[in-house]
C-alpha cells in the first residue's frame, strides 16, 4: 500500500533548531503535515487531540525522555495510538540505548548527525517505500 504523505507526523525534540531541521527535511521528501513537541509530556498532550501516522522523537529530553514517551505510547496497546510507528533520532549511540529502545518497541533508530537520505530510508523501512 502506498504511503500517504498527507499523514500527520509528530516530531519531538527539546532543541528548536533540530525541530526545524527535521521539519525541513520531512518537507523535502513530501511530508508537510508536521507538528512539534519539545518533550515527551507535550507530545502525549498533542496525541490526545490528533492522530499521528508517525512519531519521530529525540531521546535526551526533560522532564519526559524519548524512551519514556515510547514506553507510554506502547503501553496504550489496546488503542491505535499504541501502534503508532516510532523512530528515535538521538545522539545516544551506545549499544545499551539501542537495545533499550528496541525492547520498548521502537521501529527505527537514527543517530545524530544524520542526512535526509538516512531519514528517508528509515521512514521507508517503517512505513513502506514512497
Amino acid at each position: 500500500m502506498a504511503v500517504n504523505k498527507e499523514m500527520n507526523v509528530l516530531i519531538v525534540d527539546d532543541y528548536k533548531t533540530m525541530l526545524r531541521v527535521i521539519r525541513n527535511l520531512l518537507g523535502q521528501i513530501g511530508f508537510k503535515n508536521v507538528d512539534e513537541a519539545n518533550d515527551g509530556q507535550h507530545a502525549l498532550e498533542l496525541m490526545r487531540h490528533k492522530n499521528y501516522g508517525l512519531i519521530i522523537s529525540d531521546w535526551n529530553m526533560e522532564p519526559m525522555s524519548g524512551l519514556d514517551l515510547l514506553k507510554s505510547v506502547r503501553s496504550q496497546a489496546a488503542t491505535p495510538v499504541g501502534k503508532t510507528p516510532f523512530i528515535m533520532i538521538t545522539a545516544e549511540n551506545k549499544m545499551e540505548n539501542v537495545v533499550a529502545a528496541k525492547q520498548a518497541g521502537v521501529n527505527n533508530y537514527i543517530v545524530k548527525p544524520f542526512s535526509a537520505e538516512i531519514l528517508k530510508g528509515k521512514m521507508a523501512s517503517v512505513l513502506g517505500e514512497f
Partner: protein, 211 residues
C-alpha cells in the same frame, strides 16, 4: 608538590608543618656560626628547607579554593551557556536564509532547482551540529558542577586546617585562570547584558564626532 607528604620518623610518628619548622629553627639556632664546610652546607640546606616549607605554607594559604566555586565555575558555565545560545541564533539565521533561497528558486529551471535544493539540504543537515554541540557542552557544564562540588568539599577540609584560606581572599600569585580581565583590552566577547550593544557603540562614536 614537594614536601607535601607528612614527615615520619622510624616509629611512624607524624609531624605537622609547625613542628617541622620548629625542629629546623632549633637546629639552626644551635649551628648559628658554622665553622667547617660541612656545617655550612648543612646550615644552608636547613635554611633552604625552611624556605621551602614557608613557601608551601604561603601557597596553600593563597590557593583560595573558594574562588573556584564563587567565581571560576559560574563564570565558565555562563560562557558555555552563551556559546549554546549564540550557536542557536546563528543556526536559525542560516536556516532563515535557506528558507528564503528555497522560496526564491521555485522559478528556476528544474535541473538548476534540483542542484540548489541538494545544496540547501546539505546545509540543513549540517545544522544538526547545534544540537550535538549543545549536548556536549551540557556534559561539560555537568562536569564543571561536579568539580564545583568536590572543590567545596576541599574548601571545607582546608578551612579546618587553614581557617584563613576560606575567609580571607588571597589572590594566587601565579597567573590564575582569568575569564574576564577588566584591565586588559583582550577579553573576548562579553556575556549578554554585560557589554555594550551595537546601538550604544554607534551612539558613543557619534558623540565623539561632535567634539
Amino acid at each position: 608538590m614537594p614536601g607535601s607528604q607528612p614527615l615520619k620518623d622510624g616509629d611512624d610518628a607524624v609531624y605537622d608543618r609547625a613542628q617541622v619548622v620548629s625542629i629546623i629553627n632549633s637546629v639552626l639556632s644551635k649551628v648559628e656560626t658554622p665553622q667547617s664546610d660541612w656545617e655550612r652546607r648543612i646550615y644552608q640546606e636547613m635554611q633552604d628547607l625552611k624556605a621551602v616549607i614557608e613557601a608551601l605554607r604561603q601557597e596553600l594559604r593563597s590557593v583560595a579554593p573558594g574562588d573556584i566555586s564563587r567565581d571560576h565555575i559560574p563564570g565558565a558555565t555562563d560562557e558555555l551557556d552563551a556559546v549554546v545560545n549564540l550557536t542557536e541564533e546563528a543556526t536559525n539565521k542560516i536556516m532563515n536564509a535557506c528558507d528564503q533561497v528555497q522560496n526564491d528558486i521555485s522559478g528556476l529551471p528544474d535541473d538548476m532547482q534540483s542542484r540548489l535544493q541538494e545544496q540547501l539540504t546539505n546545509i540543513f543537515e549540517a545544522c544538526t551540529f547545534q544540537d550535538i554541540t549543545g549536548q556536549r557542552i551540557s556534559k561539560v557544564i555537568a562536569a564543571l558542577k561536579e568539580i564545583d562540588g568536590k572543590t567545596q568539599d576541599m574548601v571545607a577540609v582546608l578551612q579546618t586546617h587553614f581557617p584563613e584560606s576560606g575567609q580571607q581572599k588571597i589572590t594566587r600569585p601565579a597567573t590564575p585562570v582569568v575569564l574576564s580581565d577588566p584591565d586588559s583590552l583582550m577579553n573576548g566577547p562579553q556575556l549578554p547584558g554585560q557589554g555594550v550593544s551595537q546601538d550604544d557603540i554607534d551612539r558613543i562614536l557619534q558623540e565623539f564626532d561632535k567634539i
